[in-house]
């Protein structure tokens, strides 16, 4: 027995409406996509939906009290809340380099949480850059 599942592709801003015919766990066909990313997305959505996760972590001594973070690779949607809680626990010390790994293999998802910006140390009490970064 096959059935048709509808998805909206989030791979790019176009947002194609996908119709995916599945039988059990097997994808028989994907329609509605305008590029190969759509097909890939549809297959992933049937098997195990994944998303890029972004949030912030607390920072000690940084120019900002927070540093934005992201998962280096998409991680299972079902794990998003676990990851959010894990990330919320973390506090890191400035300075932080963009791309620095903050949590390895977060919640066993196989993806790392990395810093998505560089954050210099706070210079005395001002918001001046230490040396124009």
């Amino acid at each position: 027995m096959s059935c048709v599942k509808k998805f909206l592709c989030v791979s790019c801003p176009v947002g194609c409406s996908l119709s995916v015919t599945v039988e059990g766990a097997e994808v028989l066909s994907v329609e509605g996509n305008t590029c190969p990313l759509g097909e890939k997305y549809a297959r992933s959505e049937v098997a195990n939906p994944v998303r890029t996760f972004t949030s912030t972590v607390r920072v000690n001594g940084g120019l900002l009290p927070l540093c934005p973070t992201r998962s280096k690779t998409p991680l299972p949607l079902s794990k998003v809340f676990d990851v959010a809680r894990e990330v919320a626990q973390l506090t890191v010390d400035a300075p932080i380099e963009i791309g620095a790994t903050l949590i390895k293999n977060v919640c066993g998802t196989g993806s790392d949480i990395v810093a998505s910006r560089s954050l210099p140390r706070k210079h005395r009490d001002s918001r001046e850059l230490e040396n124009s970064a």
């Binding site: 607390r58 927070l66 959010a84 919320a88």
Partner: protein
């Protein structure tokens, strides 16, 4: 002791500060002005629409004259824009003739009825329907925030104490029915009073922050003035809270009118007005909705629709989508036709300055002079009116960066880098102005806005709100989550990020929670 720091309380306090007296002003709100003085047309009326012989007719033209010099002395924005009462058709024109004769009797200078053509020659956006208009050249407009603040600010400099967030809960008496100390709303035993001819005398007020002693108490409590009056045993008037709704339009359409436009009044009130504010926005309003509630300052869809329709009757081209905000005020109208300004015989020392309806803002400085005269005349045994040797009549507002010359700006920026940090883009407000507003008493986001205008512009605080919260917290030495919009529980932020964990349950199942303070 003055109860209420609105325009009435403020002008009286400032007038009293000319004398070597200990004066305190009690204000229940977190910011000044709060009540009707905060939300009104900010109009300085010419004084032609009050029935000759009334207190209104007496004080309004005088007040108008006083503002001419007061705005220079106290440095608040004032623009002598003149006003037109617009008539559409012969019925309304009759009304103009009546106003003209009132005005002449009241001593209002320069009144003149012009026809529609002349009006449109001067005011090209005026409706073609308008057949005649009564021109009043002395009518003006002020920044009502600045004006209200100016009187209190100057009074404080001259030694008046201001107690914010201090709500009067009762009055203290000496004399027969003051034996128990406190006369609350219904705590006055009238039977005792009539049996004994001895006069009761005011001894002070009690508030939620404790008792204050005073020989004279002036009730300028605006919308709550009847409640305070009843505490003193005078229930001869009742406040009829009347809500008025307004629209504010972007500055880019502020020049659609040069003067203040009135509709011909109906039984509902003075009708909708259209005006260019002292800060060049376009102001439209008010409605007039009598209500029980003294606190309800809500705007309504219907009310806003009504005033907009009223406004386009005078100025058809007002673009609705250029509105930047709307607000409502509650006028402290009373069941009396006129103002109710009276020193009570008993208890002695209690003066009602109540029912200060329109043109109350205009009349306030004249009323203040009158109140002081009343005190001198009838309460001279209680308070001595010696001149205050330290009285300084002049007072400067916080410099308005947007109005300074480039040289002045440069000079200020050199004295303090905070003058070089713009906080509000729409109104060009610097950090130094915000800091100074806090130093002079602003405690909330709305208070800062009242003083120096961040958030009054077309973005309505989108850009500056986080900055103002940050500066308030820093200057007041509190956490940003303690900062409120206008006192009470109007907190701006509910906590820090990362404090609450996301819950996996569906949104509808989650429990609402509140900030821990």
């Amino acid at each position: 002791m003055v109860i209420g720091a609105g325009i009435s309380g403020g002008t009286i306090a400032r007038e009293l500060s000319r004398y070597a007296l200990r004066v305190a002003v009690l204000e229940r709100a977190s910011d000044i002005p709060y009540g009707a003085s905060r939300a009104n047309s900010s109009m300085i009326h010419g004084g032609f629409d009050d029935k000759p012989g009334t207190q209104k007719a007496r004080f309004c033209p005088r007040g108008n004259k006083l503002y001419k010099t007061l705005h220079e002395e106290l440095d608040f924005k004032y623009h002598n824009c003149g006003s037109y009462v617009c008539a559409i058709g012969p019925e309304e024109e009759k009304h103009l003739t009546m106003l003209l004769s009132y005005g002449k009797t009241n001593g209002v200078p320069g009144l003149e009825i012009v026809n529609g053509e002349i009006l449109r020659g001067r005011e090209p956006h005026a409706s073609r329907e308008i057949t005649a208009a009564l021109w009043s050249p002395t009518a003006s407009i002020v920044n009502n925030f600045e004006a209200s603040l100016a009187f209190i600010d100057n009074a404080r400099t001259n030694g008046v104490d201001l107690f914010m967030e201090t709500e009067v809960t009762g009055l203290l008496f000496d004399g027969i029915y003051g034996l128990d100390g406190i006369g609350r709303l219904d705590g006055i035993d009238k039977s005792k009073e009539s049996k004994n001819g001895e006069r009761a005398r005011i001894r002070g007020v009690s508030t939620q922050r404790g008792d204050f002693t005073a020989r004279v108490v002036v009730n300028a409590a605006g919308v709550n003035s009847d409640l305070i009056s009843r505490m003193a045993g005078d229930d001869s008037f009742t406040i009829q809270p009347t809500r008025g709704e307004y629209f504010i339009f972007d500055k880019s359409v502020g020049d659609m009118v040069k003067s203040f436009f009135f509709s011909c009044p109906s039984d509902k009130g003075k009708g909708v007005t259209v005006a260019r504010t002292a800060d060049d926005n376009l102001l439209v309003g008010p409605s007039a909705v009598a209500q029980e509630d003294r606190e309800n300052r809500d705007t309504t869809r219907l009310g806003l629709e009504e005033i907009f329709q009223g406004a386009v009757r005078l100025v058809p081209g007002i673009p609705r989508n250029m509105a930047i905000t709307n607000f409502a005020g509650v006028r402290a109208n009373s069941d009396k036709e006129d103002f109710y300004i009276k020193a009570l015989d008993r208890p002695r020392g209690f003066i009602n300055v109540a029912g200060i309806k329109s043109p109350g803002f205009t009349s306030a400085p004249a009323i203040a002079l009158h109140v002081v005269d009343m005190m001198k005349e009838s309460l001279g045994d209680l308070v001595k009116f010696e001149p205050n040797p330290k009285f300084v009549p002049e007072r400067r507002h916080i410099p308005r960066f947007s109005e300074l010359t480039m040289e002045e700006r440069e000079h200020l920026a050199k004295t303090d880098p905070k003058w070089g940090q713009i906080v509000c883009r729409c109104e060009s407000v610097t950090e130094a102005q915000v800091v100074e507003a806090i130093r002079r008493g602003a405690r909330t986001v709305a208070g800062v806005k009242t003083w120096v205008r961040p958030g009054t512009g077309r973005c309505q605080g989108g850009f500056c709100a986080p900055r103002v919260v940050e500066i308030l917290a820093r200057e007041l030495g509190v956490a940003p989550i303690e900062i409120t919009r206008h006192g009470g529980d109007s907190y701006m932020l509910t906590g820090k990020t990362k404090e609450r964990m996301p819950s996996e349950r569906m949104p509808s199942e989650r429990m609402p929670s509140r900030r821990q303070s």
